[in-house]
Structure formats: C-alpha cells, structure tokens
C-alpha cells in the first residue's frame, strides 16, 4: 500500500509516496539518496541510523517513514554550513580523532547533538551513559567522549 507523505529533510520540503512498510532510514538512504545515515543492526541497538526528528535523536531504522509526516528531519548531511564549514560537533570529532572507520560516526554525531541539547554541561560519566545507544567497534569510545565534550564547549561559545 502506497501512502503520500510530506516532511522536511535538512530544511528542504519533501513530498513523496512510500510503501506503508518503508522505514525512515530507507526513505532517507534509498528514496532521498542521503546515504550518510547508516544501518548497522536490526534491533535498534547500534544507533548508526540515528537522525534528529523535530530536534530529538531517533533511530531511523525503528520508525516507519509514514510516522514522520510533517516532521523536520535532520541528518548528518544537513549539519555543515553551505560553504562546507563543519558544525562544531563535527569539527570536534575530527580534532579529537573520535572516528576511525566512520560507519557509526553520523549516528554518533547526531546523538551527541541531542545529548548536548538536553545536558549542555554533561561530564564524562554522563556522556558515557548517554551514548549507551550508539555502538562503536573501532575507537573504544575514549576519543568520542573527548570529542563530545569539546563539541559541547564549542557550541556553548
């Protein structure tokens, strides 16, 4: 069953039709060619598919596209400025070597933005607790935690 759908993705209005069982992540990756959002599991555990829906971090593999009708969706592609300047959180991940293979990174950055919005002054323990829903197999998380702290500080400036 196809259903019509309108939403905003990275500031752009999108009007499309989707199969009723289409997941948000499939709409983003296949329908809109926004392949920065990744799929790393099928049980909503790894967080590689995390995007912001109306400002809140959401695992897009666990949401039907139809559920986000009318919402504002932000993905990793929508973070940097038009001239290519990285968002402070993106820049912090680079500065702190908070990524290796890069596969979990988009979800990690989007979760970090949600985290900072809710806990702007989060300490290391809080950041580690909040990142529970995002798996990284490369970094051991140490430099991700460092990056989130730096990113939060830069965003507060």
């Amino acid at each position: 069953m196809s259903i019509p759908l309108s939403l905003t993705v990275n500031g752009q209005a999108v009007t499309t039709t989707v199969d009723a069982r289409t997941l948000l992540v499939d709409l983003l990756r296949t329908g809109l060619a926004l392949t920065g959002t990744h799929v790393g599991c099928d049980t909503a555990q790894c967080g590689a598919c995390t995007v912001l829906v109306d400002g809140r971090a959401v695992k897009s593999c666990n949401v039907l596209a139809a559920q986000v009708a009318g919402a504002k969706v932000q993905t990793i592609e929508g973070l940097a400025a038009e001239d290519g300047t990285l968002h402070p959180m993106q820049a912090a991940f680079r500065e702190c070597h908070g990524l290796q293979c890069g596969f979990c990174t988009p979800g990690m950055v989007m979760s970090a933005l949600d985290l900072v919005a809710r806990h702007p002054g989060a300490d290391e323990a809080k950041i580690r607790e909040e990142l529970e829903g995002n798996l990284c197999r490369c970094t051991g998380y140490q430099n991700i935690v460092k990056a989130v702290r730096l990113g939060a500080a830069e965003m507060a400036k």
Partner: protein
C-alpha cells in the same frame, strides 16, 4: 627516520578521510547504486545440521518482482571456497579439507548456511519470495563444541573429515620438554577457555556485483580488507574466470577486524549470478545475518603447564589446545590456531623448551577464522595466565616473576620458530608499573576492603608477530600465497603524487599516515599527495590489511617506490644541472649539486620527466612512475605490558575496571594520534572479550543463542574505563621505517591483564579458576562455589 627532522613523520596530523565521514559523503558498499540494479536475499539454514531432501522454488519463482532464484544444484562449474593455508599434521598427512560449497549441496552444517539466493526487483520482494521456498530438511544431531566434536560417537559433519578432525599439529621439542618437566622444582597448571567472539564490525558485510556483456567483465564492490586476494581466490579457485575480467573494489569499509579478509559465499554467488541475470545485484547483510555468516573468532580450549626451578625460572612449557574451526574451513582458518598461535608461546621469556599440540575440529557452527590478533591473543592469554599462576604458586611478585625470565639479548631465537629482532621488555614493564601506580596498590586494596570490595591487579607482558610475512617462511609453513605488499608512486607532470597501495584502510587512517610518509620523504606538501587503495582496477597488486601489516609492509613498499623515484630524479636532475649523478643530493624536496647552491625543485624534475625537451632520452625513459613490491625479511615484534586494576563487588559479582594502563613498543611511530586510537580500540575489544562478550550456541540444537546485539554483549561507552596509554620505542631493525605495527596489541594484551586482575582479586576468597567473560553471573557463582567448598 624521516628525511626531514621537522617533516610530517611523527606528527599527530588530523585525518584527511574524516571530512567525508563526518559529512555523510563516505561511500560504503551499500551506498553504491547502479541502473537496473536488483536485490539479493539469501535463504539460510534454520538448522545446525540437516540433510536437504528437496527444495521447491516453483511458487517463489512466480512471486511478484522475482528475477531469479538459484540453489546449490544450479551452480554448475562453480567450485567450493578454498582455504589459503595447508597445515600438515603430526601424522605427516595434509589436513582434512572438506568442500565448502557456495550454496548448500544436499546438506547444511550450521545455522545460517546459505541454501538459496533470491534475486528480485526489491529487497522486500526478495524476502517475501524466500519465505515461499519450501525446503524439506532431515534434521540431524548437531555438535557445537570442539571438544565434544572429537569424542567418539559425535555426529559426523563431513565425509572427508573422520571424527570431525581437521588436523592434529604440533610445534616444539617434545623430548626436551618432557625431560625438563621430569626434574622440575614445580609445575604450574592452568585450564583455559578462550571464548568464541563475533567480530561485529558496525558495517555489515555487503556486495554489489555487475556484469558487462560488451567486455565480458565483472565489477564487484565488496566490503573487503583485501580486494586483490578476494579477486584471486574467486577467479582462480571458485569461478574459473580470468583475473583480467574481474575488477574488485573495496570502497569505504566500515571496520573489519579480520572478518572482511575472507572470500565468502555471498559475493561469490552474486558475481556468478550477475552474468546470468545480466543486471547488477546488490546484497547487504542485516545484523542477524551477520551473526550467523561472518567468520567468528577464538574458541580454544587449552591446558597449559609451566615447569620452573626454585627461583621461578621457566624451564619448559607444555600446551595442549583444541581449536573449534566451525563447519567449514574459512580462508585462513587453519593457520590461526597453529602458525599464528604456537609460535608466540615463548612470549617475552627465555623459556628454553616449549611443546604445543593443537587439534582442530569441525563443528556445526559458523566458521572460525582470524579476529583482531588472530592466534596471538590466544597465545598471550595462555602464556600470561600460566606465568601469573607461577607467581601465585611460588609467592613471587608478578613483576618479579616476569623480570626473572625476560629476554634481554637480541636477536633471540625462540624454541618455537621465531627470531625476535629487537625489544626492551623491562622498559615497557617499568613504565606500565609507574603509570598504574603499582607502588600504592596495597593501600588501595585495603581501602576497597574496608568498603567490602575486592581489588586485584593483573599484568600482561605480551608479544606479537606482525608485519606478515616473509613469503618464503610462510610458504614453508603451508601458506598458499605470498605475503608481500605492493606500492606504486606516480609523480604527475605538475609534481603532485598519486600513491597506489595494496594495503586497505577500513578505519586505520592510511590516507593520512601514508601521505605523511610520502610528503616527508619527498619534501612536498601533504596536500599534493593522494593515496588510492581498495581497487584492483587501479592498484598493481596487494595482499591487503590484517595482522598489523599495513605500515611495516605496505608502508615499506611505498618507501621502496619512493627510493626508485628519487634515484631516477637524481639522474634527471644531473642532466638538468649538468653535473655528475653521484654529486646530486636529494633533501627537503630539492635535488642539489653537492657543495653548491645549484638545485632543481622536485616539481621541476617531475615536469622535465614528462616534458622531456632537455632530457637524457638516450639513457633514460621519460616519466616518473615507480612500483615496488616489498617482501619482509622477518616478522615484526611489537610488545609491551598492560596492567589492569579491577574492583569486584562480592555481593553482586560486578567487576569494575578501575584502571587500565598500556605501555607498548610499536617501533617508530608515524602518527601518534592514530596509534593511540588503534590502541584504544584494541583494548576495548580485549576488555570486551574478558568482561562482556561471549558467543553461545545451544549444545543440543546448535542454535546461536547470542545472535543479536540484544543478546551478545558488545562493549558500550559506559562499560569501559578511560585508558592510559603510552609508548616506548625500539625501532624494528629490518624495515626502513623502523615500524612494527599497532593495530592488534590492545586486543592481544588486554584479556590476560584483566583476567589476571580478576584472579588476583578473588584469590583471597578462594576462587582459583574463572573463565572469560568475567560476567557478574560467573563471578558471583565462582565466589559462592568457593564459599561452599571452603
């Protein structure tokens, strides 16, 4: 080290690859799309062991969107997947090497064994159709543990492997070991289970295959650590295609850890089918599928004994191991519990005699192959657990028992076939002890005891053999491939340099590290250096990335190619400067006539090579493009000491890693930031093994019980401590970079450090033996059993 003391080598240069990964513009295999593409879905066995009576695909083939369905019988002319290493057993016979079909041929041997592939217009249609395939299984009894599989009466998995045995193999001087044990002052013993792990790179395996009718050629995008090896094995051994007609591209790859080294059934089936349907076919594993189809790691059961004199000096070590290889021989499965394991049993010590016997068994489980460290974590775990036990048995402090036995004279030939070129084990132990504040451990332990908690300290002084490998040695040991690396340095007319490397980066940051080396050696800006990897269509050849080999072997190949570029550049510069070639010096990006101020910049020489108007055309070809293959003369031997401090709550069994320090010697370091990141990641996987991760099969049904991230405990951010890491340097003596490799050290050293700490903490409450992972349940049970037994 570097040509320039202030050059990029040794600097914490921020990574160039990050820009695309941080903006969502990386291109992983599943991001590749092609016109007219189709989607594949693999129907897999739900049973651990069963005969296939029949497969009915009629209804499925008529389902909406289905393009084709193939089962094992359709794959005419397709051979099984090969194993790349021949092990010869103690009986002098080659290992039992049963067929490893691409799609099941009449029998399935593990849950997840592929039975059919459905190609459809969409993935959903492929999945829907797969549900309509009727497979009539005759379910057979299954066996999942290596030890059980070798027992009389166990279910027989392959006709070609009686008793489920692949081989019994041994290394070392048994007679010398037996003699030393007969007269030893004391023998310390440990029984060890090295738990089975699932690699779980966050990017699941994926492939996109297409066929070009005009060229009669194939292109395969695949999440692989070594595209050339993938192509060689697939074309020469399985599909019988000319290598020239297959291009394999491994684009951005989201982590590997060993699991993406191998030639798998899925991409092989896709390449074959792409010609038959004459359309591109894409496939990406979902995580549940990855758990039952990616090669697993470890899974050893070992008994180890160390004979010592009254002062704790090691006289001999005896090790017996059963290794579970799973249902089929994966690409390098056979060499992991043998060549990459028993050869490391000397560790950092002068143990004069060592004997190790390994029996490898087939079971109804996913094939087991190299996982980060590959044999060396298993060896380190054996050595460091038994050394710990010697210290406990003899009442000698853990640092002291190690110091009494350290190798201090190099080169050192071990009794298990390796020759260590260099090292300084006291240095890394001293520094690790300082970092861990061992001096004040007793007071911390007392303070914890006042709170009712148990503190323990554990050491692991590990060694690894990396930089795989001298091809002649590997060949003598059964390797069916060479283990060199290739590098091409193409200087473009305008002076920019494109480097083509056979190494593959899937998180290691080669695009940055290798560019640092090239910029440093040629005295040019890093911005003028481009690193290309992962494409058989562009790169001369390559053996890929595993075994911490990329810098020591792949980096050296690039250095050798640079040396050729500089040598030719000197000839060109001599002509341009009207000087003798022997008078030309190359430094800081300039060719200079020695003792004068007359020089030509690197870019000027490059231009002259491509616009050869003033050029020694009678003596020299135009162009500046050099290739080198580098085959190392020895392994490299990274080593170090890791110290772990744990605090256990005896009421709950919860183990907290309160401190973890690592002091490693990786030889010379090109980018310390990247090295530190590699260590962190390795430690996380090592602590994951010791604290959390365990791959569990149901013993009766052979079902994988830990088959998702809900059941398999991956380390999360709040499970791990903040590591303290540092490095010491003894440069490798046999490669020009002096580099040893750093990718696996964390995973090799960490498990023993942590489990020794757990044993140390629990010694006071009478627990003598606990296996990984030290989960709260296990620790609590061990404490209760000790109490009950006391």
């Amino acid at each position: 080290m570097g040509a320039n003391e202030t050059g990029p080598i040794g600097q914490a240069v921020r990574r160039r690859e990050d820009a695309r990964f941080l903006t969502g513009t990386g291109q992983y295999t599943d991001d590749v799309t092609m016109p007219r593409q189709t989607c594949a879905y693999f129907l897999r066995s739900p049973h651990a062991h069963a005969n296939i009576r029949s497969i009915d695909t009629k209804a499925a083939k008529a389902a909406p969107g289905v393009v084709a369905i193939y089962v094992g019988a359709d794959l005419t002319g397709v051979n099984g997947l090969p194993c790349g290493w021949l092990i010869t057993g103690t009986d002098g016979k080659p290992m039992n090497e049963p067929p490893h079909p691409v799609l099941a041929q009449g029998k399935v041997r593990h849950v997840g064994d592929p039975v059919a592939v459905v190609v459809a217009e969409s993935l959903l249609e492929a999945k829907d159709a797969a549900e309509m395939i009727a497979v009539d299984y005759e379910v057979l009894p299954a066996v999942v543990s290596g030890v059980d599989a070798l027992k009389p009466g166990a279910p027989q998995i392959h006709e070609q492997a009686p008793g489920n045995k692949c081989y019994t193999w041994a290394l070392g001087d048994k007679a010398a070991v037996d003699a030393a044990f007969a007269t030893a002052h004391h023998v310390s013993k440990v029984d060890i289970v090295n738990n089975r792990l699932v690699p779980n790179a966050i990017e699941p395996r994926a492939a996109v295959a297409s066929y070009n009718r005009a060229e009669q050629s194939y292109t395969l995008y695949v999440a692989s650590q070594n595209p050339h090896v993938e192509r060689l094995l697939m074309t020469a051994f399985v599909l019988g295609l000319p290598e020239t007609k297959v291009r394999v591209i491994a684009p951005d790859v989201g982590g590997g850890f060993g699991s993406k080294i191998y030639l798998y059934a899925e991409e092989t089936a896709l390449v074959w089918a792409s010609k038959h349907v004459n359309r591109p076919i894409r496939w990406a594993a979902d995580r549940s599928e990855a758990f039952i189809s990616d090669a697993h790691g470890r899974d050893h059961v070992t008994h180890a004994e160390m004979a010592v004199d009254k002062d704790g000096r090691f006289l001999a070590m005896r090790v017996t191991t059963t290794a579970n290889l799973g249902a089929y021989l994966s690409t390098f499965a056979s060499c992991i519990p043998t060549i990459l394991y028993a050869t490391l049993l000397a560790g950092q010590y002068t143990t004069p005699a060592i004997y190790c016997e390994v029996t490898a068994a087939f079971t109804n489980t996913v094939p087991v192959d190299a996982y980060r460290g590959a044999g060396r974590p298993e060896a380190t775990y054996v050595v460091e657990r038994v050394v710990h036990q010697v210290g406990v048995d003899l009442g000698i402090a853990q640092d002291e028992i190690r110091r009494r036995n350290f190798i201090r004279a190099f080169p050192y030939a071990t009794p298990v076939a390796l020759t260590y070129d260099t090292g300084n084990y006291d240095q890394t132990l001293d520094e690790a002890m300082r970092m861990a504040d061992v001096a004040h451990f007793t007071s911390r332990k007392a303070e914890a005891a006042r709170r009712g908690k148990l503190r323990g300290l554990g050491y692991s002084s590990y060694i690894e053999a990396c930089g795989l490998a001298p091809s002649n040695i590997a060949g003598a040991l059964g390797a069916r491939a060479g283990l060199y690396e290739a590098g091409e340095v193409r200087v473009n007319p305008t002076g920019g340099v494109t480097v083509f490397t056979g190494s593959h980066s899937h998180g290691q940051g080669h695009e940055t590290t290798f560019a640092q080396i090239v910029a440093d050696k040629l005295g040019i800006d890093m911005a003028n250096v481009e690193i290309v990897h992962g494409d058989t269509g562009r790169i001369p050849f390559g053996m890929g990335t595993y075994g911490s080999r990329s810098l020591a072997v792949g980096g050296t190949a690039i250095v050798k190619a640079i040396d050729k570029v500089v040598a030719k550049g000197k000839k060109i510069a001599a002509h341009l400067l009207e000087a003798a070639e022997t008078d030309i010096e190359f430094k800081d990006g300039k060719f200079t006539v020695a003792g004068t101020d007359r020089s030509k910049a690197f870019g000027e020489v490059a231009l002259a090579a491509y616009v050869p108007h003033i050029y020694p055309l009678d003596k020299l070809e135009p162009g500046l493009n050099e290739t080198a293959f580098y085959d190392p003369t020895n392994f490299t031997y990274p080593a170090g000491t890791h110290i772990c401090e744990v605090e256990i709550d005896p009421d709950t069994g919860v183990t907290e890693v309160v401190n973890f320090v690592a002091c490693d010697d990786f030889g010379n370091i090109i980018n310390p930031m990247i090295v530190e990141g590699q260590v962190h990641g390795g430690l996380a996987q090592g602590l994951g093994q010791a604290l959390l991760e365990n791959c569990v099969y149901d013993a009766k049904t052979g079902q994988l019980l830990s088959g998702s991230f809900m059941d398999y405990a991956m380390p999360r951010a709040d499970d791990l401590p903040t590591f303290k890491v540092s490095t010491k340097v003894t440069p490798c003596t046999h490669n020009p970079l002096g580099a040893k490799g750093c990718g696996e050290a964390g995973a090799i050293g960490a498990p023993a450090a942590m489990m020794n700490a757990v044993h140390d903490a629990l010694l006071g409450v009478g627990v003598k033996d606990i296996q990984m992972p030290a989960s709260p349940h296990r620790v609590w049970q061990a404490i209760q059993s000790a109490k009950a037994g006391a």
